[in-house]
Symmetry: C2
């Protein structure tokens, strides 16, 4: 059995896991991300974390066949450079080179959504679908594209940013500076915004009670209320599905993948939610009755997608 | 020197040419498309046309290393089937199999925009750009995607339909049944619609005079008037550039190609037009100052794109 390490770098914490060749995590840990310190500190912390998760299961560096790193932002994989990661205050950071000072082995790095897409393709909901698309609905909309079994990310890894595909020209402002991006409608952030707007408009909606009960408005609020028959909430959910579906149909028309995998917290709404999206995609994809349908599924690696996805980068390279 | 035949099937006519391995047409001809007859008639006509263009330059079937066919609609290349072509009234037509009754040689078939993209990549404006996108602005918006030097067209060839990417949810009605597709804003048809609207609103615009002079409103009308300083016309042109740019930036963010090549009648507006699109793309693509810019260029094969593109399908396969 071969073992790999997958590292998932986030704005709040760095997670790492030892992953076996079947995509199972056999040891994992996490440490805090200090975004205000020099990147070399983060690299050192990451290395220590790796030592720790190996130590926990009595493995050594020699037992590891490769390391994969997933990181938000634009990652130039070929060079091992984090070109730009806003949340981490990273600009042209040679992460891999720095890490090799501690551990000189095969290390691969890619965007976190790309890693998650690869993980889902190899070990999760995308198994067997050589052309599939992963989207994660969170603070933003992250997308990872698998074509012919490989991550597609464009020149210097700066593509696969379908979250920044405009679906409403002149629409809602997006964090990227453009208006009307898919992310500005289909992210959990956008859902919460639209929920708050609907609550303000509909004082009698039970969304208000649910939010009060939980102490906040979350992506779950409109779903919970809609399931209890609240009209305004159902309106919010339907609109949200339409926004997600609109961008997905665009991607289906462009890529015509076998499968579209949906991850992120909102995907926990399960079949109720996924079925609505599937119906929308089937109804509006180009060449409706004639062209092959893209299957919409819930991503299955959940919170482990980051670690398994990152490890699968190394695995794929190692088994080539 | 090797020779290939490229066949360009259109709703009005079928064009065919003998193309040498340098991408030059050395003989060509055309015949009428009879869309009201059985497809076997069209195949027979196409074969006769091939015989004629060979005869014209004293070549025989044995001199030809392969045949490529470009056809509008959804083409399932692997099977040689035209899955669906609205203008030709074709539905699941086994074109290649039928053609082989007359000439049993290597025959490839693909969507016409995909062929044009390949032709531009091998012999035109895309030379040397292994990742590039071709768009043609005509009755609709056709798109062809070259990734790693190969046509990408998705499952059963039913992808690469970026013309049917919604850029304005709930927007203008598109021929595909959806609302707000890129095609409904960036096609020449849409430009003419918007020009007519602006003319009706601005009776004193010289667009009205130009249209009267030419006996019709065309895609050239607003450009000609804008160049003469007409404000309303400049408004139409700027909006049109914005629509084209919006969809292009979406594609750039997804694919991050080296180059975007623009074809179709409107592209004859030249540098004035191309420069405006380039500026828009540079301004709005994701990661503005950091990410690599996509170069916007005018496609160069013009009216020969269909024949050369189709021939290049056969060429590429023959030289693999």
């Amino acid at each position: 059995m071969k073992y790999y390490i997958g590292i998932d770098i986030g704005g709040m914490s760095i997670k790492a896991g030892v992953v076996n060749e079947n995509g199972k995590i056999i040891s994992k840990g996490a440490c805090k991300t200090f975004t205000d310190k020099h990147y070399s500190i983060m690299v050192k912390d990451t290395f220590k974390l790796c030592e720790q998760i190996l130590n926990d299961i009595n493995l050594t560096k020699d037992d590891i066949s490769g390391i994969g790193i997933g990181c938000p932002g634009t990652i130039w994989s070929d060079k091992g450079i984090i070109t730009y990661a806003n949340n981490l205050h990273f600009h042209k950071v040679p992460f891999v080179k720095e890490f090799k000072k501690y551990w000189d082995t095969e290390i691969l790095i890619d965007n976190d959504a790309n890693c998650a897409a690869l993980g889902e393709y190899l070990f999760g909901s995308g198994k067997g679908s050589d052309n599939c698309i992963f989207i994660t609905l969170g603070t933003g909309v992250g997308t990872g594209i698998i074509l012919n079994g490989e991550i597609y990310s464009g020149k210097k890894g700066s593509g696969a940013e379908a979250g920044h595909m405009v679906i409403r020209i002149n629409g809602e402002k997006c964090t990227c500076g453009r208006r009307g991006c898919w992310e500005a409608y289909a992210s959990a952030t956008a859902l919460i915004r639209d929920t708050k707007r609907a609550m303000a408009k509909n004082a009698d909606s039970i969304m208000n009670d649910i939010a009060e009960e939980h102490g906040k408005v979350s992506g779950r609020t409109p779903f919970e209320a809609a399931k209890r028959g609240d009209k305004a909430a159902l309106g919010v959910v339907k609109k949200y599905v339409k926004y997600i579906g609109c961008g997905l149909v665009n991607l289906v028309n462009i890529f015509r993948p076998d499968k579209v995998m949906i991850g992120g917290g909102v995907s926990n709404e399960g079949d109720y939610f996924i079925d609505m999206i599937q119906k929308y995609v089937n109804k509006y994809h180009y060449g409706g009755r004639i062209n092959p349908k893209a299957k919409v599924v819930k991503a299955t690696l959940l919170n482990d997608a980051g670690i398994i996805g990152a490890a699968s980068l190394a695995m794929k390279s190692n088994t080539k």
